[in-house]
Amino acid sequence: MTRPGLAVAIRSLCVAVLLAAIPVHAADAPAGDTKDPGRAITSQLICPCSCGEVLSGCTCETGIALKGYVDDELKAGKDKDAIEAALIAKYGEVILGAPKAKGFNLVVWIAPFAATLLGFAIASMVLVRWVRGKRAAMAAAPGGAPADPDRSLDALRARAEAELRELKE
């Protein structure tokens, strides 16, 4: 791979990193949840019975009781972290809808974005290599590369459009 090709790939990678990094933090609290503090907590939890539904929408008895518990704790002045900690102590981390980003569980947070970035990097490198290969081949061909590919392409397009018009007529 040529050095300019590598540079393009690195630039693409940097842009992709920036794009990918913004949303992870931006999504922490969906806009709809901010109005209701109880829902902001229960929408991040899973009902601990076997139904497996997100607590905020769960209508089973366990779910309704637990939503009542969260509301009561909020009224008692406890904050989100304290309520979550108490629920984790009782039910384990399985009650969290998304695992905490620590230890082995970091894998599930990092891998999708790492894979996306890797995909972009590989696609960029392949594209750059193909484009440079094509240009080199054109330059080596008899007559060499056209002086201005854009203008040449425009001319070809105009010719194609004219031929299409003729065909339609």
Partner: protein, 653 residues
């Protein structure tokens, strides 16, 4: 009759083995006789499977409890239509449905290609037969639906109440038609590798088959979302449940293939990538069945768990290993015929769109399977649910939305600066203007803003493309208005069908945005005569009603519903207690309008005599269902295109 059913499956298994073997021999020897015999054997598999299905369906409808399957999944009080639908309610019946649809695809293939004498098509038949070997083997030796009970019960155990919904009659068969249909593209891909076949004709054929099953899978997924919305009673339609994810994954990879296949058709590029996508789509559709049936993950769809998981795992590992080995072995065959001319081109944008589709699939796959992986490594149980997927998948999905607008308006080979300016200036400006106008309406946060911008941008590019097409045809087409659009679309159905599909995608994005960001919720215990308010609506409890149905006792709240003081009539959110399962089920009351849904749930009648009512306002949720219909319509337009391969081959340089 059960013995006849069992015999039919056993003989079908032998015929499938024979078909696979004899075609392999015919391909090796070059003899036409074995190839013809192999095709006939697949016809026999199809006929025997239909016979077995009829026998089981008859037993289900007749409630013949001598059949173990019938006793486990039906009861005397079950309405007849649900008794018939019990065919796909359990493990054995679902597998029989799988085989039946597989046979339907096999029969369709044999019929459409009956006059093609090219051995390549026999290789396709051989692959279909080999997959039929697996399913007939399972049904014959591992989990037969024709097992009998020595002492049949007087009544059956009944059907899972969740499945007693009209949607149940069509959702699973449509979803399976999508899932199983990927066998044909897979068989084409393997046949190309086996037969060392080059050319682009097969890829056009594969595109049409893929589009057909992709349409069914997508529609099935949407029907599933609708079923969840109405039947599960949690106010939403997509919960990132493992089985929902399993149905989404092959659809995503199939979508990637439908885009990248255009590059292969036009430019003879990405051949390895396309075959890999075909294989992956098929393997993911098998994986979906594995997830539903194995019970490795907790799911609202775990209706029929059993011990067939290892068989499916072995099939997935075996078939994917074989396919990978073949791809590597035929590497030279899959060399690209062309190279990219420029990064900023339609090919480039499709390549990046493929990266995003596969990344989205990978994120979904990892999130779905991670609880099992994490428990195996750390020993601790964890959940990976909607809060995770909303953070990880939504940004990737939004990037795809933007690319949906960019790809179609970029030129093939190279997009010049003038093309970029001409195609992107107006959509970008429109996107910004619409976004700014949406801010006072309450759109805030990065994701909602990007969704609004992306949706406006994509819609603008679609409208511009239609406008350009109409302008270009102005001189040659006499029609005006709607007729001119119909004429335009008829001339290039693939292209404009694709734009219609994109418009449907935008509608779904806007529907998801509206129903998630602007959703309102209220819950309150009410006494008779009490009212609760949600948005502009007022719900007044008039009392409760008890009703006995054939198979359940129904408790309903009678609610007077009004909006802005104007009566909208009565609604009856209910709880049904099914006699057989003794499971309480929520029956949602919906007041639907194009702008918003009022969604009412009966929480229950409390000990103090109050009635718990939970209500949601889900704005724009109708756009999701309408978007699905638009996508279906667009796909039908694209499918109706006649094969124009020769002309395309001439146009493509």
């Amino acid at each position: 009759m059960s013995e006849l059913g069992r015999l039919a499956i056993l003989v079908a298994f032998l015929c499938a083995v024979y078909s696979t073997g004899v075609i392999a021999w015919g391909l090796r020897s070059g003899l036409a006789g074995p190839l013809r015999s192999g095709r006939n054997a697949l016809w026999a598999v199809c006929s025997l499977t239909v016979l077995a299905t009829i026998i089981l369906s008859r037993a289900l409808v007749a409630r013949d409890f001598t059949y173990r399957y019938v006793a486990e999944h039906t009861s005397l009080d079950l309405p007849a239509m649900y008794a018939f639908a019990s065919l796909w309610a359990g493990q054995e019946g679902s597998l029989l449905l799988w085989l039946l649809i597989l046979c339907a695809y096999g029969a369709a293939f044999l019929w459409f290609y009956r006059n093609r004498l090219d051995p390549f098509y026999d290789a396709v038949v051989m692959v279909v037969s080999s997959v039929a070997v697996f399913f007939t083997f399972l049904l014959a030796f591992v989990c037969s639906p024709f097992r009998m009970l020595a002492s049949p019960p007087a009544d059956g155990m009944g059907l899972n109440p969740l499945l007693q919904d009209p949607g149940m009659m069509i959702h699973p068969p449509i979803l399976y038609t999508g899932y199983v249909g990927f066998i044909i593209p897979f068989a084409f891909g393997i046949a190309v590798l086996l037969m060392n076949r080059t050319g682009t004709r097969w890829i056009e054929e594969v595109r049409r088959w893929t589009l057909f099953c992709w349409m069914f899978l997508g529609f099935g997924v949407l029907l599933g979302a609708r079923w969840a919305y109405i039947e599960l009673g949690w106010g939403g339609y997509w919960g990132w449940d493992p089985v929902e994810n399993a149905s989404l994954m092959p659809w995503l990879v199939g979508t990637a293939f439908l885009h990248s296949v255009m590059i292969e058709q036009r430019r003879g590029m990405l051949k390895t990538w396309n075959v890999a996508l075909i294989v992956l789509t098929f393997e993911l559709s098998i994986f979906g069945t594995f997830l539903t049936r194995s019970g490795v993950l907790t799911s609202v769809h775990s209706f029929a768990e059993s011990n067939i998981g290892p068989w499916f795992m072995a099939f997935i590992i075996g078939s994917s290993t074989l396919a990978t080995a073949l791809i590597l072995y035929r590497k030279a065959l899959l060399e690209s015929e062309n190279k990219m001319d420029a990064i900023v081109s339609r090919e480039g944008s499709f390549l990046f769109n493929n990266v995003l589709f596969v990344a989205l699939t990978f994120a979904t796959f990892l999130g779905t399977t991670f609880p099992v992986l994490s428990e195996a490594v750390t020993g601790a149980k964890i959940s990976v649910s909607a809060p995770f997927f909303n953070r990880v998948n939504v940004p990737i999905g939004l990037a795809l939305l933007i690319l949906t607008g960019m790809g179609p308006v970029l030129s093939w080979k190279r997009a010049t600066a003038s093309v970029l300016q001409r195609n992107f200036l107006i959509p970008t400006v429109l996107g910004v203007v619409v976004t700014l106008l949406s801010l006072p309406l309450g759109v805030k946060g990065l994701y909602p803003i990007v969704t609004v911008f992306g949706s406006a941008f994509v819609m603008a590019t679609i409208v511009m493309e239609f406008a350009r097409g109409l302008q270009a045809r102005k001189d040659v087409a006499a029609g005006r208005g709607a007729m001119a659009i119909v004429d335009l679309m008829a001339k290039n159905r693939r292209r404009y069908g694709g734009y219609v599909i994109h418009a449907g995608v935008v509608m779904i994005f806007v529907g998801v945005l509206g129903s998630s960001v602007f959703q309102k919720e209220a819950h309150q215990p009410l006494r008779t005569g009490d009212s609760m308010a949600i948005g502009d609506y007022r719900l007044t409890l008039r009392g409760t009603e008890q009703k006995m149905e054939k198979n359940a006792a129904l408790t309903s709240a009678v609610l007077d519903v009004s909006k802005d003081g104007k009566s909208l009539g009565q609604s009856h959110p209910s709880k049904a207690m099914y006699f057989k399962s003794q499971q309480p089920m929520t029956e949602v009351a919906l007041h639907q309008t194009p702008g918003e849904d009022l969604y009412m749930i009966l929480g229950g009648v409390n000990e103090d005599g109050t009635v718990s009512i939970q209500a949601y306002i889900n704005p724009l949720v109708s756009l999701i269902w309408a978007g699905g219909v638009v996508m279906l319509f667009g796909t039908l337009i694209a499918l109706s295109d006649k094969m124009r391969l020769r002309r395309e081959e001439k146009v493509a340089v």
